[in-house]
Amino acid sequence: MTDTTRGDVRLSGISKTYGSFTAVHPLDLTVPQGSFFALLGASGCGKTTTLRMIAGLEDPSSGTVHLGDQDVTSLPPYKRPVNTVFQSYALFPHLDIFENIAFGLRRRGVKSVKKQVGEMLDLVQLGDHARKKPHQLSGGQQQRVAVARALINHPKVLLLDEPLGALDLKLRRQMQLELKRIQTEVGITFVHVTHDQEEAMTMADQVAVMNAGRVEQLGSPADLYENPHSTFVANFLGTSNLITTEVAAMDGDRLVVKAGDAKLSLPTARTSADTRTGGKVLLGIRPEKIALTHADEAGTIPEGRNRITGKIAQSSFIGVSTQYVIDSPVCDAFEVYAQNVERDGRLTPGAEVVLHWNPEHSFGLDAAQSLLAGTAEAAGTEDEVTA
């Protein structure tokens, strides 16, 4: 580890409070050098505040910020080797594109401004627009100028504050790939703040999911998706079916649980909860991991799979897959996404079905949490409370 800490961003015990409101609880985070790191969370979760503390635009109430070996906590923004791509781009309206990009170089008294800006304009494919003013460019072009203006300074870390928020969906997809390409090309550490879980998953090497001023879980996108440690992460990243169960027994590396009269099992390694017999565990399973079989053919389901019976309440065909909502005694809105490979014509609303899946795909969570944390409904009620 010691040889790779040269350019790491290290936050130690960093927090931010405004009066009695705590925006960020004391937080430890290390962003490895050269990685594409995403801070993911709903609005107001403290992710932007964290980013601004790295940039020096916000003074932390406690803790330190290290860039490599350098403690930058008390340095003003203009002395930090860090640059930011702002949410609204914050391009200088009175300067043309060339001068916007050259701004940082000129402040540091760098020579060969013309050459470097030219190269940067080529990198973001805006060579023809050098003498235009920002308002003459489209949203996507302005966004690229903002990236170029920050990148040209070769910062140790590039901070991106929801840089794609103002773009339409198609352009956003395109810019996600573009940013990823630029990051791979220049090898600078990117810290990207977003509320869009898909954006975080497609772009980042590592994602920190934030909720109410705390990091809920940190890991690679696949790890977070497959192995969430809290209901917030399970629901915020994609969709999860959560079943309240009771621990029946331990069977080697398997935990056997009961939900109603169904016996289910899950790997203990994927359980972040108390596993004593009689304890409550939330069993989670992703909708696309579940297979649906009509109740008449229940006998064809291989042994050793978790199975639950239910009745189709809704089905919606969306091309690639069909999304079913299933009423089941153990969970009243079970979501199942079935690939449209061989469709069974009997799987229509009202049909009795068996849901079954590989036990390895289940994960276990502490049952003391809200089942709705991180869902749209939960966000809605929180908003009402704060309003």
Binding site: A55, G56, L57, P76, P77, Y78, K79, V82, N83, T84, F86, S88, A90, L91, F92, P93, H94, F103, G104, R107, R108, R149, A150, N153
Partner: protein, 308 residues
């Protein structure tokens, strides 16, 4: 009333699109009419009247008639050029002082005042609740000989400096150029602060953060970002100060002596005391032309069309 009662049936018979379109086409002109009439009656006609007065000859007893006597302009300029120069000079100094005093205050209101912002803005406008004349007369008391202001300035040897420049004479402030410039600065300061505040307030705070993020120190941020973006306010503020200040006569009248007379005082006395209407009218036109030329050059030079 009967027409109103008759209207609905015809409206039902006729296709509705046609009259609506017609009405729409003339609406802008109807809306323009009151303002246009006002301008014609109270601006265009008096201007024409003054223009004709300026080329008339005659006397009060015999009456005046238009003789296209343009010599009046040359005579007026030849006789009163010191007052013209003085007007431009005093108004110029007052404008610069207003900018130097007003900019920090406008900056403070726009960026630092927080919840006090509205209160400070009201304080800026508050002097307007009292008459211009009363406030200028108050300055007469403030700058009175032997008053504590003059006393302190004298004790601090500031009067030595100003009298060396030629702004004051001896240990007096009243009846010197300094008093007139002070009065002008005081009276026109709000006209500088308000446009400056408006354009500063419109600057997105994130631009300051962006500049700081791009290695600009606070002063560099001001020089490279804040000030250039506030230029429209600087231009309109200086115009709103300089133009009325150069035509002002109240400050020179109340705070100055005969050697601080500005062109406004000359015009006033020519019209109301000497009753030489052609000269007064010619002086007015010369002043107007001079201001127009200066302002045009200034705006060209400031190049504000390009900003925002």
């Amino acid at each position: 009333m009967t027409t109103v009662a008759d209207a609905p049936p015809t409206a039902l018979v006729e296709p509705p699109a046609k009259p609506r379109k017609k009405r729409g086409r003339f609406t802008p002109y109807w809306l323009l009419l009151p303002g246009l009439l006002w301008l014609v009656v109270f601006f265009a006609l008096p201007m024409l009247y003054q223009a004709s007065t300026s080329v008339q000859t005659g006397s009060l007893e015999k009456g005046y008639e238009v003789t296209w006597h343009f010599q009046t302009y040359l005579d007026a300029l030849g006789e009163y050029w010191p007052q013209f120069l003085r007007s431009v000079l005093y108004a110029g100094i007052a404008t610069v002082l207003c900018l130097l005093l007003g900019y920090p205050l406008a900056y403070l209101i726009a960026f630092k005042a927080g919840r006090w912002r509205n209160l400070v803005l009201i304080l800026v406008i508050a002097p307007f609740f009292t008459s211009f004349l009363i406030r200028t007369l108050a300055w007469k008391t403030i700058l009175a000989d032997g008053g504590w202001v003059v006393g302190s300035l004298d004790a601090l040897h500031i009067l030595d400096v100003t009298s060396w420049i030629g702004l004051t004479e001896g240990d007096r402030v009243l009846a010197t150029p300094l008093a007139v410039v002070c009065g002008l600065t005081y009276n026109f300061l709000p006209f500088m602060i308000l446009p400056l505040y408006t354009s500063l307030e419109r600057i997105d705070g994130r631009l300051h953060e962006a500049a700081g993020d791009l290695y600009a120190r606070p002063f560099t941020t001001f020089r490279r970002v804040t000030f250039p973006l506030s230029l429209p306010g600087v231009v309109s503020g200086t115009l709103l100060t300089f133009i009325p200040a150069s035509g002002d006569y109240v400050n020179a009248q109340l705070l100055g002596s005969t050697s601080e007379k500005m062109v406004g005082n000359v015009i006033q006395s020519q019209f109301l005391t000497v009753l030489d209407y052609p000269t007064a009218a010619a002086l007015s036109f010369i002043l107007m032309a001079a201001i127009l030329i200066m302002v045009t050059l200034y705006i060209r030079r400031a190049g504000t069309e390009d900003l925002v």
